[in-house]
Subunit: 443 residues, 2 copies
Amino acid sequence: MAKALHTLCASEAQECILRGDFTVEAYAQALLDRVAARDSEVHAWATLDPIHVLEQARRLDRIPKGQRGPLHGFVIGVKDVINTKDFPTKHNSPLHQDDPTLMDATSVAILRANGALIMGKTRTTEYAVVAVTPGTKNPHDPSRSPGGSSSGSAAAVADYQVPIGLGTQTIGSIMRPSSFNGVYGFKPTWNSISSEGQKVTSPTLDTFGFMTREPRDLRKLSDVFGLKDDDEAPRRGEMIIPGQKFAILRPPMWKNAGPGTVAAMERAGQILRDAGAMVDEITLPSDFDNVLELQTDVLRHEIQVVFHRESTCARDTMSRELVAAAAGIQGGTLRRTFLRSFDALAALRGQMDGIASGYAAIIAPSSVDVAPVTDTWTGDPQFNGMWTGLHTPAINVPGFAGQGDMPVGVTLVSGRYRDEHLLQVAASVGPLFTHLAILNLVA
Amino acid sequence: MAKALHTLCASEAQECILRGDFTVEAYAQALLDRVAARDSEVHAWATLDPIHVLEQARRLDRIPKGQRGPLHGFVIGVKDVINTKDFPTKHNSPLHQDDPTLMDATSVAILRANGALIMGKTRTTEYAVVAVTPGTKNPHDPSRSPGGSSSGSAAAVADYQVPIGLGTQTIGSIMRPSSFNGVYGFKPTWNSISSEGQKVTSPTLDTFGFMTREPRDLRKLSDVFGLKDDDEAPRRGEMIIPGQKFAILRPPMWKNAGPGTVAAMERAGQILRDAGAMVDEITLPSDFDNVLELQTDVLRHEIQVVFHRESTCARDTMSRELVAAAAGIQGGTLRRTFLRSFDALAALRGQMDGIASGYAAIIAPSSVDVAPVTDTWTGDPQFNGMWTGLHTPAINVPGFAGQGDMPVGVTLVSGRYRDEHLLQVAASVGPLFTHLAILNLVA
């Protein structure tokens, strides 16, 4: 029996469309049907207009075969802090509920120009800052957190409502929800893809990225943004694992890891050893002991600069949590403390590139554990912030399971601008890590 | 005889308005009259709607006295790469000539919320990137360059058409036009004021700033953005110059300085010595020899990331110069070269803060010389880029004159987040430097 259309990954769907098995319109309709059937439980979408989706689909179907873009028929959900010309961007803030549409973000414009179909806006926490969920439920277990702040993108992808979700990460807003929902999450090297047109939180930390169910979709998405390593990356197919060297990294704060994450890290190491790879167990030099504090100092300062606008112009629309976050490091901490952290974090980046260069990838935890049981909290990003601060590419690879058979992933990391390389590694080790958790959903 | 209204600086005009000497409407009308009389020669404005200006003015006049913001009646021209909700933002690009208005940039929203009146959009070079003037003429001599990319803001302020212009700087786009037009230009510490909502060119270099005819306007503008030093800055009034220590810095490439700039630097040092200050003549440690190359490497890489959008979606709308700029360091230079420069530049920032901490201010050249005679070129920013890359606050102080009695300024620099301090220094030395050049205009 052929797979239901909505369960295909974007690359599979595209192959079928190009072969003439079905149209973009039929595919989009199948996704809309899935949304109609499921989203009253999952609450992944902030704005979705089926008529507009089908119009876009028909427009794509009318493009002659030779003129179709590399992402023809890729259907994408856009986190609702990333501007789109056809949907308002509401930031989960009362201030923006009636906003007009704005110009497409740079990322969205490039995706569209390459043939992608923007399905709608996915739910986010308030301005992608606060740690209160936007009502989205984890499709694996609605009593558990969907993660955040890219809650809707992660849940919609995991629930087969859309094959691709766009996310943003300033601490752990792509990695953590990807781990909780059992999907791939890719945070490319900082500013290798422009974040222009997405809400600014912290200019030196904000990172644009993708969530998918298959690593090959990540690769096709990255290609249209010109993510090219200096060194020729392994051929498009798989990397040969035997003989490769990996590092299992227990980061600062590792003592806080829960049983699901501890088991996933152990299992990942064992799977790689069994496949013939060499696996080192490493910790970082003491220079990295306070890397999370450095990242936090930078964030708290930078967030206060940009949210000076909302604090000045629309304070009554801000939640208590946002007011607290936007207060940043005012009230005691000095700007010279921020500068010291800003410079110290910068100095660690090259050092991390050097460490990573010895390995096919570093394997690190993606979340403290499986998604916590909670109606409100997006979970703890303490294992994610350092990679955001260090500007490295990072990919959550799903496939492990913890308590309640909930998914949990591990993070693959490489040095800056080794994005193609890391995508190849993820494409190779992903299938090895695959666990049934993500397939348990009635798709 | 009372000064003509359009010749007042913003703080003077505000005092008169608050005293009831005239209304914001009358003041705005005087500025509009000046524009009507002069802008067919200067060409400073991209978009200006007198009816809307007067509507805003009347709205400000209706605000009861106790509720007026700290910038009540400050009239501001906005560089046309900074978004405004009431004027389109055309970026001097054919792609954006018919754009709808967008949401106010963060800077503009904060200015408005504090009582400022946005007069219109000032001309910029294409996306504030290319070095071809937007047709703006230097009001001191229309055969000479107005500088760029903030050409219109600098010319409009120098020509008394508006007291305040907003600018952006990625290499030298605030400092250079300020020097050429004989106005104050202030580039605060990088990201101390959010650049959200202005065209991104290079996220780690783009800096938002102001142009004015008086330093006290700079101070009032900065205050609403919360620019506070860690250390208590000198009292609002003037700094006592005798006993202060200054550095006259001959930067890398000093050999390229023209006679106007050489004379301005010498004269600045002499004036300060005569006033009782100690003045060291300094050069930088050899670590800084290639600081401009580092800044250029970073720019060329980052510009290529963000302009991947225009290159992908609207290549036929880009000028040849923009295409070349957006090609960045592709075609040969490696990403690891960029990363090395990115990290090396980061490592110099703290070092520069240390050097600057020994002085009330470092005095450096603002431009190679006075504005060159040219119809097209915005001039050479080679003395500006290092301060942008180093994230320091910098203020062009006008007052000197070179060939053709054209204005030329010097740049005051301090360490990062010593913005209040530097504004105090500028307010104190500015009057000492004042030369008749700026007053020569028939105002």
